[in-house]
Point group: C2
Chain length 187, copies 2
């Protein structure tokens, strides 16, 4: 006779491969204010402060949740949160490596180097465009803007590559397909 | 001898062609909480409630400000605000015409009709994609989501048309150009 949730080799609970690190469990518990076992974009926003002392933007939190929200419920559980946590940390360590004065922001030359380290080869003109795109009066980007930028670049690059079968760096694309990518990737 | 701001034909103040309607001046004064003569995205957000009783999203307010923020200062003055006010009102009247129960949201068929009235010819499949793109669990869009959608569609359509000289509905586009449009239009 077997009981649901009972594992004769390891006791009750989740099998080994699903275990979440105590650090992530702790952080998740702090974010999950209503103790629902799921966190949404608003809860994530309450928990995150950028290096400038400001809350992360709506857009940053929505994008971060949507990356690992497999059932598109608008929420993620602790296992999905661990994936998000690890993913974001990879970008953060890249960001921090270039934010030498720990100001919470990086400037144009550093942004170019960071993107290059992430495998993107952009022209200097394009990096100039990127740094001014958020706010032309401030030639730097904060960490949450950096995360939004990286997620968008990743999504658009994936969508472009799918259509660039010969890897020529140029595609032919119809109006609805173009608009569909643009809207889906920036939700 | 002439004094700055003195108009011998109409007294002090703005010339006739720059006058803003009392309705717009009133609304602007309510939104401009810090009396700076300029409003930013946060002030606009405080003033706008969608038909569901929720504040407009960050993204909606950022996009709305950015449309008429000619000097990209992140703020608009009362003259720019009047243009925004009129522009948004055109979309709102279109939205309201389809929101027959005044619920503050429209559904798939209505969205298709509204976009069609605005001059867009989208396939039924694309309208289905659009309605699910915000939140697949709610087959409707609220008024602020509608405004965001319209602004994005308008921007992407303009960018596409510029590259579609022969009006064939298909373009060839390189990676940086594609990414640049996508990022600039969704800021």
């Amino acid at each position: 006779m077997a009981y649901q949730g009972y594992n004769p080799y390891g006791g009750y609970g989740q099998p080994q491969q699903n275990q979440v690190s105590p650090e992530v469990q702790n952080f998740f518990a702090q974010v999950d204010k209503d103790r629902s076992g799921k966190i949404n974009s608003q809860e994530l926003q309450q928990a995150l402060i950028n290096g400038k002392g400001q809350q992360f933007s709506d857009q940053a939190c929505n994008l971060m949740i949507s990356m690992f929200d497999a059932d598109r419920s608008g929420t993620i559980d602790v296992y999905e949160f661990e994936k998000l946590f690890n993913y974001i940390n990879q970008w953060l360590s890249c960001f921090k490596a270039y934010d030498r004065d720990s100001s919470g922001a990086i400037e144009e030359a550093e942004l170019g180097q960071a993107l290059s380290q992430m495998g993107f080869r952009f022209s200097p003109q394009f990096v100039t465009f990127l740094i001014g795109n958020n706010d032309p009066n401030r030639r730097e980007i904060a960490v949450d803007q950096f995360i939004v930028l990286c997620i968008k670049i990743q999504r658009f690059t994936d969508a472009f590559r799918q259509r660039d079968q010969q890897q020529q760096g140029i595609i032919s694309i119809g109006f609805e397909d173009f608009l569909g990518i643009a809207l889906a990737c920036t939700n």
